[in-house]
């Protein structure tokens, strides 16, 4: 048969393609590489954190036990044995790593719960702040930044630049206090802190974000109350993030405005709004996505000061308490989570580059 002679189709070639190693999709190869790098990075994070916590002058025993308990050698010895502190450092580390491979992050010394449980409890609270903050900051920051770039050198631009500088040099805790003074104390428009008013109980947990969970459960009064509690911390975080974004958006857009293709777009007789939205925004987005990614990762890692002032039980507060108690398992858990957030956000940013700019698309 002819098909056999020229080695073409039929049963022969299907077996051949089954035997030949199939070339993986370049995106899969890219993701696999990044995953391997992430694993290495997380391992590095455990080594560094483990080392640092043990180098810091201070003892988890004194940090966690009361004075009375410290005077009792039996209690101290029991504490050391319970947390494995009597073992040599390398043994402690290997033990931790072994557990980690099974998804066990250990038990927090101060909460007594598993670190994983703690993260599941605190991370959603931080996410509930970070997500609306980022969405608002992106919309407002991009809009204002573009406006400043288009009005380069004119009054609007000067105003935006001064505003951004003010925002960047404002200490977050100070802004939080001012916002509380005005909107809670003077105007009484928003609650002073916490995630829910007394009298409301948290909605059944799905995402851990009260507004979302309450809405999912149809408890609209709870959702509204939770949203009100979000308002002030989100306001503070948004203003700070906008101040940061505006500078990057402005300079990125200014650079794009110099390009021939923007002049060419105007020369085609396109309405200004089309030139700005389709041509300018698209081209200026790459650097903006980079900064936004970093800003979002930083928001997701928790903001200690803002969370403390608004009594927000988020990751920032958890990390702060773990650090002061030298609570090694929690510190490691938080560090791993933060490292993971940064790598995932960076990965997303890289994938977004490809979506925005076809020249960066994977070959």
């Amino acid at each position: 048969m002819t098909t056999v002679h020229n080695g073409e189709p039929g049963a022969v070639s299907t077996t051949a393609s089954r035997l030949r190693p199939r070339r993986a999709h370049p995106l899969l190869v890219f993701l696999a590489k990044r995953l391997a790098i992430t694993a290495g990075l997380l391992l590095g994070v455990t080594v560094v954190t483990f080392g640092l916590v043990n180098v810091v002058p201070g003892d988890p025993v004194t940090a966690n036990l009361s004075d009375q308990a410290l005077n009792d050698p039996a209690t101290v010895a029991a504490f050391r044995e319970k947390w494995g502190l009597d073992q040599p450092l390398w043994a402690q580390y290997l033990h931790y790593l072994g557990n980690l491979l099974h998804g066990d992050l250990g038990i927090s010394q101060q909460t007594g719960r598993s670190v994983l449980d703690d993260l599941v409890r605190y991370v959603p609270a931080t996410m509930e702040l970070a997500i609306p903050t980022m969405v608002l900051a992106l919309l407002i920051g991009t809009g204002i930044g573009m406006l400043a770039a288009v009005r380069n050198g004119r009054f609007t631009d000067q105003l935006v630049r001064v505003g951004s500088l003010l925002g960047l040099s404002t200490p977050p805790f100070w802004l939080s206090l001012v916002v509380l003074y005005v909107f809670f104390y003077q105007l009484g428009l928003a609650p002073s802190g916490g995630r829910l008013s007394t009298g409301f109980s948290p909605p059944p947990t799905v995402t851990g974000m009260y507004t979302v969970d309450a809405a999912l459960a149809g408890q609209w009064d709870v959702a509204w109350d939770a949203a009100q509690h979000l308002a002030l911390p989100v306001l503070v975080l948004t203003s700070l993030t906008v101040a940061l974004l505006v500078r990057f958006v402005r300079s990125a857009m200014l650079e794009v405005l110099q390009q021939d293709y923007i002049r060419a777009a105007y020369a085609k007789g396109l309405p200004t709004r089309v030139v700005l939205r389709r041509h300018l925004l698209r081209a200026g987005l790459v650097p903006v996505v980079t900064v936004s990614g970093l800003a979002f990762a930083s928001l997701l890692s928790g903001t200690v000061l803002v969370e403390s002032i608004f009594g927000w039980p988020g990751l920032g507060q958890y990390a702060y308490r773990s650090a002061t108690a030298l609570d090694l398992p929690s510190i490691l858990g938080v560090s791993l989570f933060v490292a993971l957030v940064y790598t995932l956000v960076n990965l997303t940013v890289d994938l977004l580059y490809g979506l925005i700019d076809p020249r960066i698309r994977l070959s």
């Binding site: 021939d260 085609k268 007789g269």
Partner: protein, 326 residues
């Protein structure tokens, strides 16, 4: 019949760090329907700024005097919306560097159709159909696929062809081509020039071709304007301009141009350089570099005066000029 484009005594002043800088002085030029007119001169002589003025794309703070009429419309009196109607649909522009002038993140198809839909009020399908035709017209192979491509997937010549297709998309009556072949290989240049000439012949399009290359001028255009330091110093039929120049600058440009098998040693570069804006000497701007300058040349810039059939020259001396036969 009135010319399609009639520019009269156009002067443009740009804001500078130390006060306003006059860039264009007393520029008058016309382009007829279906005519291919050349505008030549060294870099910085105001050729491109003339194009920007005619599209209303001057930087903020620019001051314009004189008049510029296009198809009966007073361009300089246009408001924002008026300019939007003229740009693309009346006067279109092809830029020097197609790589820089095409948006790197939008498909060729999108860049071809977006202004068609605004100016010609076409729906997506009609615009796409016309876009494919245009790509075919500028000889881009596989137009359907080209529509979905991004500029970086094209070669330089293809990009300029696409840019020309984009410029033509909204059926303009005048195309301003600002050195459209400078960034391209010589072999690609010829194709682009032939394309422009063919489009002119087929569609009655008028083309104002800006170049610093006198060879291109002679090959393509019927009439030419020689610019120097923001002024028109000589104008006339291209053939006559290049074989029997009447302005020393035109003659000097021809002498500085290599042709055929000429040895490099016989090229005559023009001594000195053109004056920077705002630093032009009193009188004729070319006078410091001119071999025929007289004391009278430094009093006032000579006006453009008729010099034979369809020709004008801005020279107070009018020396007898020898030009090496090309």
């Amino acid at each position: 019949m009135a010319p399609l484009l009639d520019v009269d005594s156009l002067a443009v002043t740009l804001p500078g760090p130390r006060g306003p800088l006059p860039i264009l002085h007393d520029v008058s030029l016309t382009v007829d329907e279906g005519e291919l007119v050349g505008i030549a001169g060294e870099s910085g002589c105001g050729k491109s700024l003339t194009a920007q003025t005619l599209l209303g794309l001057l930087p903020p703070g620019a001051a314009v005097t004189g008049s510029a009429r296009f198809a009966g419309t007073d361009l300089l009196g246009l408001d924002h919306r008026g300019w939007q109607r003229v740009r693309g649909a009346g006067i279109a522009m092809v830029f020097q560097d197609p790589t820089a002038a095409l948006h790197p993140m939008l498909t060729i198809g999108r860049q071809l159709t977006e202004h068609m839909r605004v100016h010609l009020r076409m729906d997506r399908r009609a615009a796409n159909r016309r876009a494919v035709e245009l790509l075919d017209q500028v000889r881009i192979p596989d137009p359907e696929r080209a529509m979905r491509s991004y500029p970086h997937q094209f070669s330089g010549g293809m990009r300029q062809r696409a840019a020309i297709a984009i410029a033509l998309a909204a059926r303009p009556r005048l195309l301003i081509a600002d050195e459209p072949t400078t960034a391209l290989d010589v072999t690609v240049q010829a194709g682009i020039l032939a394309l422009l000439d063919r489009l002119r012949a087929e569609t009655g399009l008028a083309v104002a071709f800006i170049t610093h290359d006198l060879g291109v001028l002679s090959a393509l255009t019927t009439r030419g304007y020689i610019f120097y330091a923001g002024r028109v110093v000589e104008t006339g039929p291209t053939g006559a301009l290049l074989t029997a120049p009447t302005h020393p600058y035109t003659a000097a440009l021809l002498g500085a141009r290599p042709h055929g098998t000429q040895a490099v040693g016989t090229l005559r570069p023009i001594p000195g350089g053109p004056p920077a804006p705002g630093e032009a000497p009193p009188g004729c701007p070319f006078q410091p570099r001119c071999g025929y300058a007289q004391p009278s040349c430094s009093t006032a810039p000579p006006p453009l005066a008729p010099a034979g059939a369809d020709r004008s020259v801005a020279c107070g001396v009018r020396p007898h000029l020898e030009v090496a036969a090309p």
